[in-house]
Subunit: 258 residues, 2 copies
Amino acid sequence: MHSSPRSAAAQAQDALPFTLDRHSPVPLHHQVARHLEAAIENRVLAPGELLGSEIDLSVRLGVSRTTARRAVQTLVGLGLLVRHRGVGTQVVHGQAARPLELSSLYDDLDAAGQAPATRLLRHEQIPAGPEAAAALGIPEGTEVTHLERLRSARGQPVARLHNYLPTAVPDLDAALLEASGLYRLLRSAGITLCGARQTIGARTATGEEAELLGEPEGSVLLTVQRAAYDDTGRVVEYGTHLYRASRYTFDFRLLARP
Amino acid sequence: MHSSPRSAAAQAQDALPFTLDRHSPVPLHHQVARHLEAAIENRVLAPGELLGSEIDLSVRLGVSRTTARRAVQTLVGLGLLVRHRGVGTQVVHGQAARPLELSSLYDDLDAAGQAPATRLLRHEQIPAGPEAAAALGIPEGTEVTHLERLRSARGQPVARLHNYLPTAVPDLDAALLEASGLYRLLRSAGITLCGARQTIGARTATGEEAELLGEPEGSVLLTVQRAAYDDTGRVVEYGTHLYRASRYTFDFRLLARP
DNA sequence: CAGTGGTCTAGACCACGGG
DNA sequence: CCGTGGTCTAGACCACTGC
């Protein structure tokens, strides 16, 4: 580590002359983490490269070791850095392993340039059936908001979406629902989703389903039931969806238990 | 919070008279987290119940606030506790939202009492094909270990599993492979998986696949491709699997990005 | 206003890994 | 051996909540 004239770690740190704003409302450790993340993203810090020690980092940034360490910890949690006791901290090899996201189909398609579109087939208040009631944790027959939507990408139907919301969400009109994803609208309404339980299966399509999705009868569908909850653990949305298996697959990441 | 004669929070804390072993190799914050988790699991701390403040907790346990806070933080990360500034920390409502695990099918079935069994159909060293090579990040034609297994539950076939390993794993014999899950064996061999990228789709079965799985030809299968990587981001296993959709669904949790 | 969680500091000791 | 990350402490100030 003391190879002359200067160690690789010291050189790596020289490439990080970013400044911190101590009067910003954004926490110091978060500022540090953001800058480190950007450096890794831009390959300023190459995969496998050793960062300087936490002590060095804290001294150079003028923060306590605890704060520097917390920033590093964040990136370790994101899978961008790896720490080895007695060795040091290095940028992870291979493609970064970003953690799982609670994805919105609309946003996913949008990000992939698939030109998503939505047709609102139903928007009503109905008494909750047994399945939706159980998933939402409310008594059967309670009034819930029910949505049925047909999602297309590049002009072709991809999915039929059924959603049940236990609370009436204001400002949830057809125009908005056809122009954006439901999760984005819920967030705008002040409902922050924290996670979801999800079940994926597959079966053949009924005649009605096949016609709606533009598939031959008996073709293969992916089925999804998803219950999304907020940060208090309350289920705020339950959906049961069908995807054309010929045009869609689920792609996501798993994290091992620590 | 100062209702006489004693606050609910104080009562809740009285139910946690656990002792800490300061000479144990297991960290204090982890001991605290384990005990808190058990208390929540056993409903000693009821959902929605307020814990005492972090200061109280640290004083009662005789640790610093930082240590107590770290334990609480762990459980917040696990989705068991929720914190609100100015209010306090409370046990999450509804069913606990345990985070996602990198599951082993064998262990999942075992835990569900489904009496899993494995038949080893193939175990060989072969040159990597284009798909496996790309997934493993190695040149095409490199020698890899290839496994083909048939997984059953309660005597009925459930899945056909193909696995590719870039390194020859010693002690990977038929007896072990038929008596346990692959991930458990890899862990025993010192390979610790950290996460995985996964794609789930569906299609109909070919005649050969249908026969192997005991399904009629043309029945629906769930398809899974999974690349598992270790803590350095290197892919250490690639698998492509088929599941009988009539007998299996994927059940897992998603966490929203923070 | 008092109490809460959120952040930050400047120290300390330990366990591990490499030279 | 020394440097690393892993843990822990005792204090401090702030922003937010509810009364």
